[in-house]
Symmetry: C2
Subunit: 363 residues, 2 copies
């Protein structure tokens, strides 16, 4: 027996490359850009972007200029686009690192025109097609001069329901996007789809696709089996094993009462590591027995900041220092997202950034 | 009008000191230790621990040894206790930074005895009193020799329901703790309560209290008005203002349909910054009008990774670059936790660690 105390996050860079290349091959006529915002969904933007760069990617999207500044030194001659656009607080990052803003509004465009970058770089323009998030409306586009319209490298929009191909919003947004492109940007390149949109059909591909979630193994086609490879494994050591008596309580608020004598494992991971507290009394961890058979052990009681408690009555011969798996090939990001009533994007964003993990990259 | 794109997190160190001193004064006979685990609940362990050290705190609790190693260089001669204990993966941190483990099990104690630290430092022992999380049971304590029992500096346990003073678990755990102390640790100092426990009554104070959540302004007495000061302010710029027509949809999944023409603000913050996606269609942000009157504007549609969309129909004269407040004195950590069906501890743990914020410490 060896005692361990620290949770471990393993990130498989080979599988990230494989996912990227699979997606790229699905869109043979579009530039396959990579979305590495939010620290590459928490997995580490520097390492992930370098990996994708080495796989041939030369176009990257971040949300904030600060994120672009972090990866720029590692991505020579790549295009780094900033989705939240440009402002007084982010201008220095654009100048120092040659970042390219995605301009979302007339007000932001007016600001951009006052900066030294105007007419030196070609920004992207984002247009509104139905998401009602960022983007110029048709009324606002009509106020731009022909020279201004011609100053953009790409026209960009974003789909709201692309993970449900039959949703009426997809065709509605596609039609709006084509109308805007034809009317205002006939000679400008176009980009509409993120990972989910590319699976609808090739009408949604245009000149560039923005590959994000699917690179990280998330199933962006929830209406069918995931064709991406899981890229992460999270495991945490068992700190202690206890047998609690019938009628005893477990965890904060005494929300779990044992209906019978129950063997429990206290596992060294909690919401302080980004494991959602909504998994209290309803999540699961995977623990392997000596035959390597997986057992899906219920989380009992509330998830606390540093620990979860699991019912391990179904497994023999466990001991302190053995590991419980929070996410792996047998219990994926999408499975844990399902159990926590959210999407895999949020799960990994909250987990990956925590510095308490021992983070290993498998190359 | 000035355009901004980046969310801002302001942390008031003066109020953190004030909260610490208020709590300390409530426990005149106990050593007032500070809990700075999980990067001081996401607020920055180095800065927070230095502030508390300067206010006289000399005893600190972290969860993981790695966290202790980060703050140790700034806390000369302080005691830094590690709640998750010691293992093969964390031993080097203990040796290099003179950290003190909290030993939770016979197995961990057996490991500790093999390390060069045994008989050089006095660890804390954690005992089980009813939470059924970490800690020695009475059966396990009975197997320790008198010398072993005497080797600990403190006997520690943790309450499960201290935020509800009338809960039967409090008296039950107190009784168990006193029995264990009297039987096994008559001459050892004792610590039972975190922030919430100290408010039950002074019987719960013992020799050391572990002040955490309340220092950070969280209401650990939800049965009455918070007596702590709010210490954080989170605000994010409005990137764009839009008027959407009746029957248009907002955000991913088209989950929000406008029942009338609606003025919206797209705010530059999202679950990538730790703002829970569970606030979709039910959270609020605070926006101030020109008279500085707060308006609680509903989040409409889903929270996305980088943006939330708010209904601002009730406010005139807003413009791009104005700020929406996510957490402040008018809408506290506890308010947003309530809206997201969780506790303030989890809210701030997920938000504070995100590097996308401009983080300012107010001294």
């Amino acid at each position: 027996m060896t005692i361990y105390t620290t949770p471990i996050l393993n990130i498989n860079l080979k599988k990230i490359t494989k996912n990227y290349l699979t997606l790229k091959n699905l869109c043979p006529n579009a530039t396959p850009s990579a979305v590495i915002k939010d620290d590459a969904y928490g997995l580490g933007a520097i390492k992930i972007s370098q990996t994708l760069y080495n796989a041939g990617c030369k176009d990257f999207f971040v949300a904030h200029a600060k994120e672009g500044a972090i990866v720029a030194p590692y991505l020579k001659d790549a295009n780094i686009y900033v989705l939240q656009g440009i402002g007084k607080d982010s201008l220095p990052y654009f100048i120092e690192h040659n970042l390219i803003p995605v301009i979302c509004s007339p007000e932001m465009f007016a600001y951009f025109k006052q900066t030294p970058l105007y007419q030196k770089i070609s920004p992207i323009i984002q247009v509104e097609t139905g998401l009602n998030r960022l983007g110029f409306t048709i009324n606002e586009l009509e106020k731009l001069s022909q020279n201004e319209l011609n100053s953009f490298s790409y026209v960009l929009s974003h789909l709201s329901c692309a993970d449900a191909p039959a949703h009426f919003m997809n065709e509605y947004q596609l039609k709006n996007f084509i109308q805007i492109k034809n009317k205002f940007f006939p000679n400008t390149k176009a980009t509409l789809s993120a990972s989910d949109g590319i699976f609808i059909n090739s009408n949604y591909h245009f000149d560039m696709v923005r590959l994000g979630a699917a690179i990280y193994g998330i199933n962006t086609t929830p209406y069918r089996t995931n064709t991406m490879q899981n890229v992460i494994e999270i495991k945490a050591p068992i700190l202690q094993i206890k047998t609690i008596k019938k009628d005893e309580y477990v965890g904060y608020g005494a929300t779990y009462k044992a209906l019978k004598e129950t063997k429990t494992a206290i596992v060294s991971i909690g919401y302080g590591d980004g494991i959602s507290r909504s998994l209290s009394n309803r999540g699961k961890v995977v623990i392997y027995d000596s035959n390597n058979t997986p057992h899906f052990c219920p989380i009992i009681g509330r998830v606390s900041m540093d620990n979860i408690i699991c019912d391990i009555s179904c497994i023999n011969n466990l001991q302190c220092g053995d590991f419980a798996y929070i996410i792996n090939n047998d219990y994926t990001l999408d499975d844990i997202a399902h159990a926590s009533d959210t999407i895999a994007y949020e799960v990994i964003s909250n987990i990956g950034k925590n510095t308490r993990f021992i983070k290993n990259y498998i190359e």
